[in-house]
């Protein structure tokens, strides 16, 4: 973990504004591609608005490579853009609620320093779904929609774990690339 901290604390990229903008733009494009792939997969949990949450991979990478501010900016831009491209106004509302909720939890767990990228990513996946189901329950004014909770928890856990593993594998390579644009 101390090695990772070294990478995170390396602010060499901050020196180059254009490099920084380009890199963050790449991460946003990556997030959008993941959203697109997700919209192609006909995966359905039985509850409205719930998705796999693959785009969280880009958010986790942003959180570990840059700052919380960059991660939240990329996250919100990703949701609005993908909502206009592949979804509708409803999907923007649900995604936004789930994303903000999961982001706060991920940031909290990361700042606590007690969890690795795996735990942070799992919490992100799970709380993304929990946030969405809470908004869905509020919109239709019914709590019995919470019946879908076990399925959503398991789905969030599995995708979160997968994203954590992928993120930890590609982090060393991406941060090496980040080092180059000084």
């Amino acid at each position: 973990m101390s090695d990772n901290d070294n990478i995170i604390n390396d602010h060499s990229i901050e020196k180059s504004t254009s490099g920084k903008v380009a890199f963050k733009g790449l991460l946003l494009a990556f997030a959008l591609i993941l959203s697109y792939v997700e919209s192609l997969i006909p995966f359905y949990f039985g509850i409205p608005g719930a998705k796999l949450g693959l785009a969280n991979l880009a958010v986790v990478l942003c959180l570990y490579l840059f700052s919380a501010g960059t991660a939240i900016t990329v996250n919100i831009l990703r949701i609005i853009l993908s909502g206009f491209l592949f979804g509708n106004m409803f999907s923007i509302l649900y995604s936004l609620a789930g994303a903000l909720f999961s982001f706060v939890i991920m940031l909290g767990l990361k700042k606590s320093g007690k969890f690795s990228i795996y735990g942070v990513s799992v919490a992100g996946g799970v709380f993304h779904n929990v946030g969405q189901i809470m908004i869905a329950a509020w919109v239709v004014q019914t709590v019995s929609i919470v019946f879908y909770l076990p399925v959503l928890l398991m789905a969030g856990l599995l995708t979160g774990l997968l994203i954590g593993i992928i993120a930890s594998r590609i982090m060393p390579y991406v941060s090496q690339f980040k080092e180059r644009i000084k």
């Binding site: 409205p48 608005g49 969890f115 735990g119 004014q141 019914t142 076990p150 928890l153 856990l157």
Partner: protein
């Protein structure tokens, strides 16, 4: 540059978190199974307010009108209720499986419509819902 290729190692707290989520998921699943008693009536809620109640044992088809003048086609057959057609943008209500147990729901978010099974034995969740 050697440190660059080291991967993050999973921590004990991560495993505790994962186990905790698994326990919560298993508990809520078992609770749902335990609570699942057969229902007697199909209730239709629009924006949280009860608008219609139909018997579950009587096979029939109904045309429901939701928010934004949306239409959902409700079919009750073999003691199960399902939405077979709708004009909402996502059609997620059509994809949701047929419901028959007390407290089970089908909801259409764009039309703010909820189809809920009730009757039979009142359970704790109904008290909370109402």
């Amino acid at each position: 540059m050697k440190h660059m290729f080291d991967r993050a190692k999973i921590k004990k707290t991560d495993i505790i978190l994962i186990i905790l989520i698994l326990i919560i998921a298993a508990c809520s699943f078992l609770w749902y199974r335990y609570q699942g008693t057969p229902g007697a009536a199909v209730e239709v809620y629009l924006d949280g307010a009860l608008t219609a109640t139909y018997p579950l044992e009587q096979s029939a088809e109904y045309e429901l009108t939701g928010a934004h003048d949306g239409h959902n086609h409700l079919v009750i057959a073999d003691g199960k209720a399902s939405i077979t057609d709708a004009d909402c943008p996502d059609k997620l209500c059509v994809k949701q499986r047929a419901i028959s147990k007390n407290g089970e729901t089908i909801c259409c978010l764009p039309h703010k419509l909820v189809i809920k099974i009730s009757g039979g034995m009142e359970n704790e969740l109904d008290a909370v819902t109402n």
